[in-house]
């Protein structure tokens, strides 16, 4: 698996914390683009680099950040990055010029400390920080950005992930507090709550990532500590569905360490696509601290795509070419995996 010919590693001279595909436009002269959050401890600098898929060795553009990036997301019109000092930076995708970027600086008025929950919901960005604050950030109409506070947990809770389900609803997750569901139409408090399920006899764990499929907005898939992946269906909020984790499913757990990110995998076809009922969960891709990139499916054996010697800190599936996956490896490199038809036929 490690010597998969369709997987290429591109060493970089600094730490790659996060990677995302940028929405590619036909007019782009440099082809398909990637965004990577990089950190260079020797120069004490953190940047967002725009890289071309054809040659990821040198950045096409660079956007400096005040501290290490903790979240990175793309919308059709902008690239957003949140940092460990609590700031949010938005760069229009038309030009990744550092001058065109707008920022909400961290501090008492916004977030204090790392912001790991960041997502674009069609109109606004949501940010959820480890300080327990949740903000909705949108345009002020005159090119400025305006952040409105939805909730201030005053440090009683800390959020690690956020994901929109619809323009009015979003989910958050964090350390020990499981997953919350927020509905902006029903006031500024969480409307539903799930403490999650954790293996290894742990009462609580940490949620690292949440994904919601646009076609099934009532289901969150959640990845967190101890290799735990579960789905939370709002229709049965008391019964989270285990997908992977120690002691959660009968099968050998896929991984026992932190699951850093989860995403619904639109490329892997569900095995019983014809008979699929709406109750069955769609396949989910995950990456973990022990170097696993895999696709898990309810009641199926997981499909391991990569087993690296180092952690995979972040990955992204290209929404326009879902066969292609980019991942950030702990050992200062970017990995690009193309799942061709041949590769799938072998399985």
């Amino acid at each position: 698996m490690a010597d998969n010919p369709s997987f290429r590693r591109h060493p970089q001279p600094f730490s790659i914390d996060l990677v995302r595909w940028l929405p590619s436009s036909a007019t782009s002269p440099s082809g398909r683009l990637l965004a990577a959050a990089v950190h260079d401890p020797s120069a004490a600098s953190s940047d967002i680099h725009i890289l071309s898929l054809a040659d990821p060795s040198s950045p096409l553009a660079s956007l400096p950040l005040p501290s290490r990036a903790t979240a990175l997301r793309c919308s059709p019109s902008a690239l957003a990055a949140a940092t460990s000092s609590g700031s949010l930076h938005l760069a229009p995708s038309s030009s990744f010029d550092a001058g065109a970027a707008v920022a909400v600086s961290g501090g008492a008025g916004f977030h204090v400390g790392p912001v790991r929950g960041l997502d674009f919901g069609g109109e606004e960005w949501v940010t959820a920080g480890e300080d327990g604050r949740i903000h909705v950030v949108g345009g002020g109409g005159d090119g400025r950005v305006v952040a409105r506070r939805v909730w201030d947990g005053k440090g009683m809770t800390g959020y690690e992930a956020a994901k929109w389900a619809s323009p009015a609803e979003f989910a958050t997750g964090g350390a020990g507090c499981g997953v919350q569901w927020w509905d902006r139409r029903k006031g500024d408090a969480a409307v539903a709550q799930c403490s999650g399920i954790w293996g290894r006899g742990l009462v609580t764990g940490m949620v690292h990532s949440i994904d919601i499929h646009p076609s099934r907005k009532h289901i969150c898939v959640v990845g967190g500590s101890s290799g735990t992946i579960f789905a939370w269906d709002l229709r049965w909020p008391q019964q989270p569905i285990p997908l992977s984790g120690i002691g959660l499913t009968t099968a050998q757990p896929l991984c026992e360490s932190e699951v850093w990110e989860v995403l619904f995998d639109t490329y892997t076809q569900s095995s019983d696509i014809l008979s699929s009922t709406s109750a069955r969960l769609l396949p989910v891709m995950m990456c973990s601290e022990d170097g696993i990139l895999a696709v898990v499916e309810q009641d199926e054996r997981p499909l391991e795509l990569l087993a690296e010697s180092c952690a995979i800190n972040s990955f992204d599936i290209d929404p326009q070419n879902p066969s292609d996956v980019v991942c950030a490896l702990e050992w200062e490199s970017i990995g690009i995996l193309s799942r061709g038809r041949d590769a799938m036929a072998e399985e």
Partner: protein, 728 residues
């Protein structure tokens, strides 16, 4: 350690080198911008993580300055000591740090695999107690596999340059730049590991020299330097065969066996040009004859890579036969009558010189080569193709050094001499001095692949090293280098865990020193603890992280880590703090802000200590709220049940008994039929009695309820009891 600063200038501590101890290198001075106006009262210096040094500069606090807000009274500056010239020798061309880290990352899986194989073999041998000879025979093959994997990380000189159209006038192919790390690695692999190619060692050395000749010397002339200088002039030359450098280059290339280059260069000869063919026919014939002889030179080796010339002979008899035939042809050409007809003097001399080299003429070989190692290789090619054994080679090397003494030594040649003299200590010392801790740590596996003496030398525990072996010492040194960088510290545990004596202790220190500010980094550290089953360390780290977050106001994160660490003591103390807070605002709606924290505690509260109470208390308060709003019998009944649960539970602090009862007073009073039965009411009354007794105890903490609270509770309980008795 505090030090007193000097008064003058910006210098903080004057440095004086040790006088008389030879010539100490001048200390490197770093200027620190601390922004504190002098006089500086105290300076504190301490190590931070990695190469960072924290320097704190403080002013004397003086009462007159009291109002001066602009005056900075002290500052902490971080100084990065990395990036300076490390102890690498001058032969090491700068491998930049990122490239070195790539090598460090890449070599880890190979190293770990080899260690696990070693352990598995040792275990198997211990189990069966049979000398595991078949495995022993295979061991060097495992090491060879490891060596190839690591070697490939160091750059691959064989890799063809990517899709460039080659100029026919290119003499030296521009491939990947060779590195001395790779060169040294190949030397060790060649001599210590690869048993298969042991019989072809001379030819392997010739190949090695072809790859790394450019590294031998920066200042002195080498064959590579001669050819690359000639290459630069080649474009401007009209008639190449008139240039002495052309013939010098040819003889030099031939003497070290670069046959393809020789044949290529011979084709530059003017007689090949179409307009001159007619009048230089004989001359051209001679050039071509030499080119053919060069390209058919017999070589004793298993195979020839594509593009290399010569005829390959696998066995000694084959080689001897071919060699005699070829030498005969060379002799025949040398004595040929055609030379007289060759009009061009320089061509005649040049070609004859090449023939003499091929005939193994020591004088010509010595003249053609520049470096002793080149002369050494030429001896293998033309004089002693059957040289075997370290002793013979070492003897020959000594002779070559005498003939061509080189002023500057390079790490590579010293290493080679060390290998040939079969002195493992020298080899190890050369590796340490010239190629750095990474190289030594990984190369020790090559040294011990099939060498019992080196094995013993490296593994013997030495009291002067604190009871550790040389191998462990080098691994620890390398691990320290890895620890000093925030991106590579995560791979240090693999090396530390392979150190049996001190590794685990150092690993624990390393893990405990990792920053705990960032939850993700803490999780990465904990993952390493999990892999090495260091549960105590992980519990400690969780507690440290918990205290950090608690202190910085992230109470939720604090409680989370304490819970993970099963730290009952701290959770209880936190519970006391919360009780204090809630005790004050018991009727307040601000209870809501504790919601999140209570959610964190979850429903299964085994590990939460006294916080269990808070969870139940929250349920009681919620239910009470509903009961008051809705006034439904169901909610009221539920509330009373919660109340009884709370009062029964031993973890409910005594000071909450009265407030709880007081909260429930209107519930107890409002209904016509009582919510509590006799037994329940009696329980509550007993608790109340206990409370009255406890009031006399000196440690009793009073609450903030109105003074008549006790009486109203007593009254309502009494009336409830009365009604309950009537009911029954």
């Amino acid at each position: 350690m505090p030090g007193m600063p000097t008064e003058a200038g910006g210098a903080i501590v004057p440095f004086s080198g040790e006088a008389g101890q030879g010539a100490p290198p001048p200390p490197s001075v770093r200027h620190i911008r601390h922004g504190v106006t002098p006089p500086i009262f105290r300076v504190f210096v301490s190590w931070s993580s990695g190469n960072l040094l924290q320097v704190a500069c403080l002013r004397q606090p003086s009462p007159e300055d009291g109002g001066g807000a602009e005056e900075v009274s002290g500052s902490v500056v971080e100084v990065n000591l990395g990036g300076g010239g490390s102890g690498r020798a001058e032969v090491e061309e700068k491998i930049d740090e990122a490239e070195m880290r790539r090598i460090e990352y890449g070599s880890l899986p190979a190293f770990a695999l080899l260690q696990s194989r070693k352990n598995a073999l040792a275990e198997a041998a211990a189990m069966s107690r049979v000398p595991a000879l078949p495995e022993q025979a295979e061991w060097w093959q495992y090491v060879l596999e490891y060596s190839k994997t690591v070697g490939n990380l160091l750059g691959n000189p064989d890799s063809p340059p990517a899709f460039t159209i080659e100029d026919p006038k290119t003499i030296l192919k521009v491939g990947e730049k060779p590195t001395s790390l790779r060169a040294a690695w190949e030397l060790l692999e060649m001599f210590y590991v690869d048993k298969q190619l042991q019989g072809w060692l001379p030819e392997r050395l010739v190949d090695w020299l072809a790859d790394f000749d450019s590294l031998l010397s920066k200042k002195e002339s080498t064959v590579y330097l001669k050819l690359s200088n000639f290459q630069k002039r080649l474009m401007k030359l009209q008639i190449v065969e008139d240039d002495p450098d052309y013939w010098n280059g040819l003889s030099a290339a031939l003497s070290v066996g670069w046959l393809d280059i020789v044949v290529n260069m011979l084709r530059f000869h003017g007689s090949y040009q179409l307009d001159q063919m007619d009048n230089r026919e004989t001359e051209n014939g001679l050039v071509e004859a030499v080119a053919v002889l060069v390209s058919t030179m017999p070589r004793m080796r298993p195979d020839l890579p594509s593009g290399k010339l010569g005829q390959c002979c696998k066995t000694r008899p084959d080689f001897i036969k071919a060699w005699e035939r070829w030498r005969g042809q060379v002799n025949k050409l040398e004595c040929s009558a055609f030379w007289i007809q060759c009009g061009h003097q320089k061509t005649r001399d040049g070609l004859k010189n090449l023939l003499h080299i091929m005939m193994g003429n020591v004088k010509e070989l010595t003249a053609a080569t520049s470096h002793w190692l080149e002369l050494f290789a030429s001896h293998f090619l033309y004089i002693r193709p059957f040289t075997v054994g370290f002793e013979g080679m070492h003897h020959l090397a000594q002779k070559c050094i005498q003939l061509k003494p080189s002023s500057g030594t390079s790490g590579l040649t010293d290493l080679l001499i060390g290998i040939l003299s079969e002195n493992s200590e020298v080899v190890l010392a050369e590796c340490t001095n010239n190629f750095g801790p990474w190289f030594v740590t990984h190369a020790m596996e090559l040294l011990t692949a099939d060498n019992d003496y080196a094995d013993m030398m490296l593994h013997e525990e030495r009291p002067n090293f604190g009871g550790i072996s040389i191998e462990e010492l080098h691994r620890i040194v390398y691990a320290q280098v890895l620890c000093s960088h925030s991106l590579t510290w995560q791979i240090a545990p693999t090396y530390l865990s392979s150190c049996l004596n001190q590794g685990l202790g150092l690993l624990e220190i390393l893990l405990l020193k990792q920053p705990i500010q960032d939850n993700r980094l803490v999780l990465k550290t904990l993952e390493i603890c999990r892999l090495y089953e260091l549960e105590d360390v992980s519990t400690k780290i969780m507690k440290i992280a918990g205290i950090y977050h608690w202190k910085h106001g992230r109470k939720g994160a604090g409680v989370y880590w304490f819970q993970q660490a099963h730290d009952k003591v701290r959770l209880d103390r936190i519970a006391q703090q919360l009780f204090e807070h809630i005790g004050k605002s018991v009727t307040d709606d601000s209870f809501k802000q504790w919601e999140g924290l209570l959610e964190l505690l979850g429903s299964d509260i085994g590990s939460a200590g006294g916080l269990e109470f808070l969870h139940r208390y929250r349920d009681f308060k919620r239910s009470l709220q509903q009961a008051r709003e809705g006034r439904t019998g169901e909610a009221a009944r539920q509330t009373v049940e919660f109340l009884i649960q709370l009062m029964r539970n031993p973890s409910t602090p005594q000071r909450f008994w009265l407030p709880l009862l007081h909260d429930a007073v209107d519930l107890l009073n409002c209904k016509p039929n009582p919510l509590l039965n006799v037994a329940e009411t009696t329980l509550l009354l007993n608790k109340l009695q206990e409370l009255s007794l406890a009031k006399l105890h000196p440690g009793f903490s009073s609450n903030h309820l109105p003074s008549q609270a006790l009486n109203s509770v007593r009254l309502s309980l009494a009336s409830n009891l009365a009604r309950a008795i009537l009911e029954e």
